[in-house]
Symmetry: C2
Subunit: 327 residues, 2 copies
C-alpha cells in the first residue's frame, strides 16, 4: 500500500493495467474500497477483487487486481495526510513480510511511505529499510542499492548531511557495504564474479592528498581489504569520470561514499526507471525510487515506470535467489 | 601549447585536420619543430608553418597549421615531463593573453598544463585560471563553467576536499558566482534572461533541516539575494533530481556547491565534449575539460573532441561578446 494519500494507489492501478507487458503477477495489500474509489476518480477500468492470499490472487490476476484487505481507519483522500491511517500502512508492510517469510510470495515491493506522517502515528523507525531489517530479525545491516538498466549504485552513507557523511565515513563501513553488495550481485543478480568500482570521496579522488586525506586514509584501505577478501574491486576512482558509458562498462556496481554521489548519476541517466533494492535482507525487497508525490496523487499524472521496474527486478532477483538456493 | 609532454600537441594536430568541419581558424603558440616531429610520429600529414601573428596565420590556416614560435628550452618527448620547459609553457599563455588584449585574436583557448611540473619550474599560481586572472589585472574573481550541448554547470567551490567545500561555502560566494554566471550567459551566450538553478548542498536539499542546516542558512539566502537583484534563480533544489533531461530544460545553468556535484552530471552526460570556460575575465577563454593525459601523448589515441568543442564555443562567445559591445 504505502502512504494512501500518495501516488501508491495510482501507480499500482496503472501498472496492473499494463500487466500484459510481461509484468510478474502481484498481490496488493491495501484497502479495496479506496482502490475502487481511486480507479473511478482516475477514470480507469480496474476490477478490484478481495482475496485471502497470494494463491487465490494468482488465479484472478489476469482479470482483476487482487487485494488482500488492509482496512484504513479513516477514508483517505489523495494528497491529504492522515496519521490515523498510519497503523494500516504499517500493518501492510508487516503482512507482506509475513507472506515472504512463509514462502507464499517471492518478494516484497513497497510503495512509498510518508515518514513524517508515520512518525506522528508513533512509528519508531527512520524509514522502510530499518523497519524491514527489524522485522527480519534485527541483526541485519541493510544496504541500499539503486538500479536502472544502465547503472547500479550502492551508497555507503545515505540520509546524512554532506558534512556528517564526510565525518562518519569509515573503512569498515565501506568494506561491509561492498561485501554485502558483492554477495547480492552473485546470489540475486546472477553475476558470478562481480566487479566493484569504489568511488573516491574527494574531487579527483583527492589527487594524492592535495584535496583531502580521506581517499588515502579511509577509502584506499577499504579497497585493499576487499581485494584481500577475494572481491574484485578497483578504486578509489575519481568520482566525476566513473559514470559515463565506457566507464560503466568496467563494473557491475559503483560503491559510493555519499547519497548524491550515487543518486546524481543514477537519476541523471534514468530518472523514471530507477529502482531501490534493499540488499542484505533474508528476503528480496524492492521499491520505486521516488516519494509519495502528494501533489500528483489522484491526478492521473503519476508515472508507474519505476514501480513496474521494481516489480520486474524483484521477480528476477527472487528467481535467481531461489535457483542459487536449489543449486 | 599547454604541457608539451601531454596530449596538447596531439589533439591540436588532429583538430586542425578536421578544420573543414566548420572549425574556427586558430593560431597555435608552440614550438614548430616539436609539432613537426610529433606529426611524423603520429603519421599524420600536417604542414606546420611558422607565422609572426594571427593576421598571417589566417592566410595560411586552410593549407597549414599556423604556429607563432615559442622555443622550448629542451627537446620534449611525449609523456616525459621536463620542468626546464616550464618557462615556455608560461610564455605561450602570456603571449596568447597579449594577443587577445590587443584585439588581434577573439579568444584564448588553452591546452592542459601540468601543475606540479610548472610549480617545480617556479610557477606561483594554483592553476591556469588564477594565472589568467592575474594577467588580466588581478582584481578579477574568475568563475569556472563547464559546458556541453546538454548542460552548463558552475561550481561555487572547486578544487577543495569535500570537507573543506562544506566548511568554506558562504552565501556571498554563491551570490557572487551566480551573478557572474548570469552576466556571462547574457553577454557571451546570447541568453537575455538567464534562468539559474541553484543546487542544495545536502541530500534532498536538506529536507527542511533534517539532513543539514546549510541549505536553510547558506543556500536559501543566496537564492533570495539573487532574486532581489533581479536574477531569475530557483533553489535550493534537491541535487539528485535536477540533472535529468526534463529538469535541465527549466534552466540555463546549474549553480553547484562543490566540484563533483557539477562535474558528475556533466561528465556522465557528455564525457567527450565538455568544455571548461572561465567567466568573469575581460576576454574569452576556454579549454578542453581534461588533463595532460601523459600516458596517451604521442600514441595517436588522444581524443580531440573536447578541444574542438572548446574552439567552437570560444568563437561563439567571442562573436556574441563583440556583438553585445557593438550594440
Amino acid at each position: 500500500m504505502g502512504e494512501p494519500a500518495g501516488i501508491g494507489g495510482d501507480i499500482t492501478l496503472k501498472a496492473w493495467r499494463r500487466r500484459r507487458e510481461g509484468l510478474p503477477p502481484f498481490v496488493l495489500l491495501d484497502d479495496p474500497d479506496r482502490l475502487r474509489t481511486l480507479a473511478a476518480r482516475l477514470g480507469v477500468r480496474v476490477p478490484v477483487v478481495a482475496v485471502e492470499g497470494p494463491e487465490e490472487a494468482l488465479r484472478h490476476f489476469a482479470e482483476a487486481l487482487p487485494v488482500i484487505p488492509i482496512a484504513l481507519a479513516a477514508p483517505s483522500s489523495p494528497g491529504v495526510l492522515n496519521p490515523a491511517n498510519g497503523p494500516a500502512v504499517i500493518a501492510a508492510i508487516e503482512a507482506a513480510v509475513r507472506l515472504v517469510q512463509a514462502g507464499r510470495v517471492g518478494a516484497v515491493v513497497t510503495n512509498p511511505i510518508h515518514k513524517r506522517c508515520l512518525h506522528e502515528a508513533g512509528f519508531a523507525f527512520p524509514g522502510h529499510t530499518e523497519f524491514l531489517a527489524a522485522l527480519a530479525g534485527g541483526v541485519i545491516r541493510p544496504v541500499m542499492m539503486l538500479a536502472c538498466p544502465e547503472l547500479r549504485v550502492v551508497p555507503v552513507t545515505i540520509h546524512l548531511s554532506l558534512r556528517r557523511a564526510v565525518e562518519t565515513l569509515t573503512t569498515a563501513a565501506i568494506v561491509e557495504t561492498a561485501t554485502i553488495a558483492a554477495q547480492a550481485l552473485k546470489s540475486d543478480f546472477g553475476i558470478p564474479r562481480p566487479r566493484l568500482a569504489v568511488a573516491g570521496l574527494n574531487p579527483h579522488a583527492g589527487e594524492g592528498g592535495a584535496m583531502g586525506e580521506e581517499d588515502i586514509e579511509i577509502v584506499a584501505p577499504a579497497v585493499g581489504a576487499l581485494k584481500q577478501a577475494g572481491i574484485e574491486a578497483v578504486g578509489p576512482l575519481a568520482p566525476d569520470t566513473m559514470f559515463h558509458p565506457k566507464a560503466r562498462a568496467r563494473y557491475d556496481a559503483a560503491i559510493c561514499m555519499y547519497h548524491d554521489q550515487a543518486l546524481i548519476p543514477l537519476k541523471t541517466i534514468d530518472f523514471e526507471r530507477g529502482v531501490n533494492v534493499t540488499l542484505g535482507l533474508p528476503f528480496v525487497r524492492s521499491s520505486p525510487d521516488h516519494g509519495t508525490a502528494l501533489d500528483l496523487a489522484g491526478s492521473g499524472r503519476a508515472n508507474e515506470a519505476s514501480l513496474m521496474a521494481a516489480l520486474h527486478l524483484a521477480a528476477e532477483m527472487a528467481a535467481r535467489r531461489a535457483a542459487a538456493r536449489a543449486a
